[in-house]
C-alpha cells in the first residue's frame, strides 16, 4: 500500500513523460544518423560513396563545363545507413543528427544536399584535376607533407616525375 502511494507521489513530482515536440524542440542523440552534409573542400571525388550507397542516393557527375564535379545526395531515397561516412577516405561526408526530414510534396525533388567539387589546373600540364585534400596528403606522404608538390599534379604528370626521379628510399 505504501509502495503504491510512493509511485503516485513520484509521478506527480516528475510530471508527464510526454515530450512537447512540435511546440518545443526535442534534442537528438549526438550519434543519430540524420541529414547528410558534404564538405566539398575535403572531397577527392573518388566515387567510393556513390559505389557503397545502399539506396542509390548519391550521384557524382562531371559538370557540363568540365570545371568540377557535381555531388548530389537525394535525401528521399537515403536510408541514413552511414556507409558513405564510414568508407569516405577523407571524411568529407558527415551524417548530422538533424532528423527534421518531413517536407511537402512540392519539395520532393529539391530535397537534396548539393555541392560542387571544383577542379584546379595541374601545375605541370594545366589539365584540370580534383585537388587532393590535406588529409589525403598526410596519409600518402606522411607528416613532413608534400615536399615535391606531387599532390598538385595530375596522375600522368605525377607518374612522369616519379619515373624521372626514381623512387625515393626515405
Amino acid at each position: 500500500m505504501i509502495r503504491f502511494f510512493k509511485v503516485i507521489l513520484k509521478n506527480i513530482i516528475q510530471g508527464p513523460s510526454t515530450i512537447k515536440y512540435p511546440f518545443e524542440d526535442s534534442p537528438a542523440p549526438e550519434k543519430l544518423r540524420g541529414k547528410i552534409v558534404h564538405n566539398a573542400d575535403a572531397c577527392v571525388a573518388c566515387h567510393l560513396c556513390e559505389y557503397v550507397c545502399a539506396g542509390g542516393a548519391i550521384k557524382m557527375q562531371e559538370s557540363e563545363d568540365h570545371q568540377g564535379i557535381d555531388f548530389v545526395v537525394w535525401h528521399d531515397t537515403c536510408t541514413f545507413c552511414g556507409l558513405c561516412e564510414y568508407y569516405c577516405p577523407t571524411k568529407a561526408i558527415h551524417l548530422t543528427n538533424d532528423y527534421h526530414t518531413a517536407h511537402v510534396q512540392a519539395d520532393k525533388y529539391n530535397y537534396v544536399e548539393k555541392t560542387f567539387v571544383k577542379k584546379q589546373p595541374c601545375i605541370c600540364c594545366g589539365e584540370p584535376m580534383v585537388p587532393i585534400s590535406p588529409a589525403m596528403v598526410e596519409q600518402i606522404y606522411g607528416q613532413e607533407g608534400d615536399i615535391r608538390g606531387l599532390s598538385k599534379m595530375c596522375p600522368q604528370c605525377r607518374r612522369k616525375i616519379l619515373w624521372k626521379g626514381g623512387v625515393s628510399k626515405s
Binding site: P16, S17, T18, I19, Y21, P22, S26, A28, L32, A54, G55, G56, W74, H75, D76, T77, C78, T79, F80, C81, Y99, H100, T101, A102, H103, V104, Q105, D107, K108, Y111
Partner: protein, 143 residues
Amino acid sequence: MAEFLQSIVKRSPWIYRINAGSCNGCDVEMATTALIPRYDVERLGCRYCGSPKHADIVLISGPVTAVVREKVLRVYDEIPNPKVVVAVGICPISGGVFRESYSIASQLDAYIPVDVNVPGCPPRPQAIIDGIAMAIEIWRKKF
C-alpha cells in the same frame, strides 16, 4: 448546422494507416508515435481509427508492390474527402532500396496524389509527428 459540424471536425483529424508492402519498420515507428506516452500523437487531436471510412489523414508505408497496389487504391477510394496523404519512409516516396525491383512498378505518387513526405528508414517518431502536423495544416485548408 453543416458549418458548425465542420468547425468541430476541423479540430480532430483521424488517422488511418496503410501498409503497402512495408518491411514493418515504419509501421512500428507509426505505432510508437501513437501508443507510447513519450510521443503521443493524440495531443494534436489525432486518433488512429480502424476503418478507412472514418479517416481524414492516411499514412502510407511500403514501396507499393504489384500485388498490393489494387488493394491500396481500393482502400484509398473508401476514404471520404477531404483527405491528406502522408508517405512515411523512403519506400513510398522513391522506392528506396527496393527501387527498380521486379515487383515494384512505380512509387506511390504515380497512383495517389501525395501531400507530405517523411523520408527516413524508418523516420524518427518526431519526424512523423512533424509530417502529421504539416498534414493537419493542409487538411484544414482543404475544407
